[in-house]
Symmetry: C2
Amino acid sequence: MIKAIGYAAKHSYSRLKPFEFERDEAKANEIEIAVLFCGVCHSDIHQVKNEWSNTVYPCLPGHEIVGHVTTVGSGVTRHAVGDLVGVGCMIDSCRTCEPCRTGDENYCEGPNSWLATYNGPMVPKAKAEDGKNHYGRDNTFGGYSNVVVVPEDFALKIPVGLDPATAAPILCAGVTTYSPMKHWGVQAGDKVGIVGFGGLGDMAAKIAKALGADVTVFTRTKEKLAEAERLGVTGVLEDDTKTLAKLKASFDFILSTIPEKHDVNPFVKLLKRDRTLTVVGALEQMAGVDNSQVAFHRRSVAGSLIGNLADTQEILDFCAKHGIGPDIQVIAIETINDAYKQVIDGDVRFRYVIDMRTLKRAD
Amino acid sequence: MIKAIGYAAKHSYSRLKPFEFERDEAKANEIEIAVLFCGVCHSDIHQVKNEWSNTVYPCLPGHEIVGHVTTVGSGVTRHAVGDLVGVGCMIDSCRTCEPCRTGDENYCEGPNSWLATYNGPMVPKAKAEDGKNHYGRDNTFGGYSNVVVVPEDFALKIPVGLDPATAAPILCAGVTTYSPMKHWGVQAGDKVGIVGFGGLGDMAAKIAKALGADVTVFTRTKEKLAEAERLGVTGVLEDDTKTLAKLKASFDFILSTIPEKHDVNPFVKLLKRDRTLTVVGALEQMAGVDNSQVAFHRRSVAGSLIGNLADTQEILDFCAKHGIGPDIQVIAIETINDAYKQVIDGDVRFRYVIDMRTLKRAD
C-alpha cells in the first residue's frame, strides 16, 4: 500500500480539506506517478457539490494530472521511470466492447463503462446491469493528490516543449474540445463558433484557430472581448442580437462549452445547412430546442464526452507543435476553495492549475 | 385567368368552406393540372388554425396533389396533356442558391425560400431581407381545389402501378420520412425506430421495412399494436418503460413523426453511439433534451424538412416498385371538417385523401 495525501470533500456542502488515504501499489501493467500539477476543471466543482447526483464521498477530484513516473510494473513497456506523463479523465475501461476495441474508450459500453480518474467508474455497481463492479471499486481518488497509480496505456506522453503545468488542462479541456472538432471534420477555412469563453472555450478557440478555422467566440462577459482580440479571434457578446442576426446560417461548426443548462437556440440559427452544434460543457437537461430552426436547415444538435486516448495524445502533440495551450494560473492547494468560488462566479478566463508540490502531509 | 374553386378558411377559428378564386394561366414553363385527389396532412390543420403564427388568410390548404395535365405551356418538355402527375409541398424555389443548384430545393436559401404550394412562400415579403417577394405573391392556394398551375419541374410523374389516390400522401408524408432515412444512410439490416404511428409514421414504417430495416414503431395507442403486427413490424407502447429499457442503445436511426411538441428523451436513450434521432413531425419548441444521454454516446438530435424533388420522384418510384403506400380513406370534400377533427383526436391510422371530383361550384 502507498500512503497518499490529497484534498477531498466529505459531503456535498463541505469545502475541500486535507485527506490521507492509501493507494494500491502498481500492478504489472501499471505505473506510479508523482503528481506535479493538476488542473481545476469546472466538472470538479459539479462533482464535489453532487450536482450530477452521482457523487460518492469522500470526493477527491482532479483529472488533469501531470507528473513524473516513479515506479513501473514488471510488464510496462511504454513508460520509464523519470518520464513526464499525463493522466486525463479515464484510468481504465472494459477493453472488450466495440468502442474500446476501436479506440473510443471514452464511450466504453462495458457494464461499468470507463473507470473515471476520480468518482469512478462511470457506471457504479448499483447501476450496472449485472450488479457488479469489474474494476473492484466504486470510488476512485483523483489528482488533487501527491501520487496516482494507473495502467500504463491510460498515461499519455507529455511532449518535449510543452510546459508541464500548461499541459495539465489539455488532458481534459483540450481533448474535450478537440475531439468533437475532429469528429465533425473541422478543417482550415471553416467558420467555427465557440459558445462560452472560460477554460474549455479558451482551449477550443486556440485549437480551432491552429486548425486554420475562422473563429468566433460568444461570451456573456464584455471584458472577454479584449481577450478574444488578443487571441486573434472574433468576439461577440451573446446578447448582441444585431450581430447574431448578421451571422445567421454562416457557421460550419459550433461548440458550446457553457458548463450548465443553457439555451442553444440563438446559436443553432447561426449554423449552415446540414451542420452541427455540439454541446460539451453541460451534462444536464438543456433548454428546449426550436425544431423549426433545426428542421428548416437539416441541422443537428449533438453532444460529445471528453475524448479517447489517441485523440488526447494527438492534441498534446498538436499543442506542443503549434505552441498553444491554456492560459493558466498556478495556485497552491491551500487556495483551492477560493479558486472554486472564482470559477463558479465565471470571473476567470484562465485555467487554475494546482502545483501539487504545495501539498504537505498534515503531520 | 382560370376560374377556380376550392375549400378555404377565412380565419384561424373558421371551418373550411367553399371558396371561389382565380388562378393565372400556365406560363411557358408551367402546366395546368385538373386535381383528382389531395391528401390531408396534419400540417394543413396546423396552418389553417395558424398554430405556426404565419398563416395568411384565406388559407386554402393541400400539398399532396395528384391530377391529370390539361394544359402545357409553350416551353414544357417533361409532361404532356393527359399525363398523371403529382405536386407536393413546393411549387417553385429561387433556383440560384447553393441548395437549389445542388438539388435541395426544400432548403432553398433565396430571399423568400421555396414557394410553398399553399400559404407560400416560406419567407413572406415582410420577413425577407430585401423586403421583396420574388414570386410575386404572399399567399398561394393549394390542392383542396379543382385546378392547380405549377412550373413543370415541380410536378412529379406518378409511376404506372401506383393508385392515384394512394400516391397523393407519398408526395408529402412519403418523402418527408424517406428523405431523412436516405440522408442518414438507413440500410438493410439497420434497426430503425419510428416514433408516432399516424400518417407519417405509417409511411415511415413501410418505407423502412421495404429498405430492409428491422423496424420498431412506438405508439401511445394500444389499438395500433395490432396494426404494427399486420405490417410486419414491432410495435411498442411509448409508456412501456420495461421494453424501452431493454431496447436502450440498440437503434441505428430513429425518426420522430409526432406532429406536436414532445419529449424525445426516452427515444434518444435507444440510439447506438454516434447515431441520430431526427424530428420531422413537429416544427416548434421541443421539450429539453438531457445532454448527458446525448453526450455519453455522442448522439445527435436533428430535424429534417420534407424532401427535395429528386427524392420525391425516387420515393414515388420506390413505392410503386415495392407495392407499398399509405393506408388511405377517400373522402368527399364536404366532410373535410369532420376529418380534421378525427386527425386532431389522433384516432386515425390511415391518411385521409379528398376525392376532388366531389367539389362542386356553388352556383
